[in-house]
Symmetry: C2
């Protein structure tokens, strides 16, 4: 019987994803399939069996990082708080924490520099759906907020994302801790504005807040860019 080749003996794809994720956090500029193969101890062609080049590797990492982020995000939201405003507040701060702790992963997910033939992550079906779900539990029916719950969810997400990008891109002058403090303050102001506009209904406070099934990835057959 032929001796198994080294490349068949190890879980190349699993190791590649793990090491690449680690490289993204420590030395994102060095992330190439060649360097990855070197660190795994396999040949470069062996990697090409799983990844169709660097962009494909980044896109697969992106999908995994996003799934992790959304899981953390939903967990944070579901952490005992019954008030939708508290939940939105916590979830917003969790996003800022993620970006501060893992800037390269945040960029990979929300501000990718690699070429994406077709966006695979559907914010509407995941992140924005979770925010909309909380907003729907608020009593905002008294015309104080115009437009739909979905529009408002987008407005909140854009605000938090804009604050994070400004902190990451050093668009505000000051040391890093001040920039991140401003991003956190923005989450608070943003939720405060809602607080003044919406009365939390007793129903909303009592509801079990079971978040509906959220599909983080896009279904096929959507309009492409």
């Amino acid at each position: 019987m032929a001796r198994p080749r080294k490349e068949n003996a190890i879980d190349i794809k699993g190791r590649a994803m793990e090491i690449a994720m680690d490289m993204l956090s420590t030395s994102p500029d060095r992330l190439s399939l060649l360097e990855l193969a070197r660190r795994i101890g396999c040949s470069a062609p062996a990697l090409y069996a799983y990844f169709n080049g660097r962009d494909d590797l980044l896109e697969q990492l992106r999908a995994r990082a996003y799934a992790d982020l959304i899981a953390q995000y939903l967990e944070k939201m579901d952490d005992g708080a019954q008030n939708p405003l508290t939940r939105l507040h916590r979830a917003g701060l969790a996003m800022v924490d993620f970006a501060e702790d893992r800037p390269a992963l945040y960029r990979l997910i929300f501000a990718p520099e690699h070429d994406i033939p077709e966006p695979k992550i559907d914010l509407n079906a995941s992140l924005l759906a979770a925010i909309s779900h909380e907003l729907a539990a608020l009593d905002c029916t008294n015309q104080t907020i115009r437009g739909s719950v979905h529009q408002l969810a987008r407005l909140m997400w854009f605000t938090v994302h804009g604050a994070i990008m400004c902190a990451l891109d050093r668009q505000l002058i000051g040391p890093a801790n001040q920039r991140w403090a401003q991003a956190r303050e923005t989450v608070v102001s943003c939720v405060d504005m809602l607080d003044l506009r919406c009365a939390v209904t007793p129903t909303a406070q009592k509801s079990s807040h079971v978040i509906p099934h959220i599909a983080p990835f896009q279904q096929s057959g959507r309009a492409s860019a």
Copy 2:
């Protein structure tokens, strides 16, 4: 008398800035001092007399692009409208237009990829000052908006910037025109939220809206990152 060298006969720095700005709009990836020298028709060392490498060139372009953008922005704000909300609305849409028309310049200014030793552009002293000036003219003294005018200005800017970055980075699924429509809609919703909270005072409507002196660039001696 020695014949002037070709390099002395042309305004190298002026031409370099002009051609580089054009390259940024059409082929940003090819922008290098070598390629720039080739297009100007001078030697690469001649360019190094004006730019301390590619990052320095990009930083100088960035300062110029930002000064142009702020001039346009203030002009848009001052375009006859007396109501601060209308003015904020127009200025926000002008930002979205700029980003859609000149994505590489927008990124250069607000999401730079080159290495910036110390941020030169002080958003607080320019963009945020202009927004704060409009907000101060609104009657928001009735406790409906918590925090300072400056905090609120930052909140509005983060919202518009976040929407623009999502449109640029294809974070919303759909063709480009739909993504930009969502960014514009966000500007409208954002100003609408203010509209509901603030009564425009007769004084604000009548004021001549002379915008105070705005210095687009940072003064020395600020805290660095």
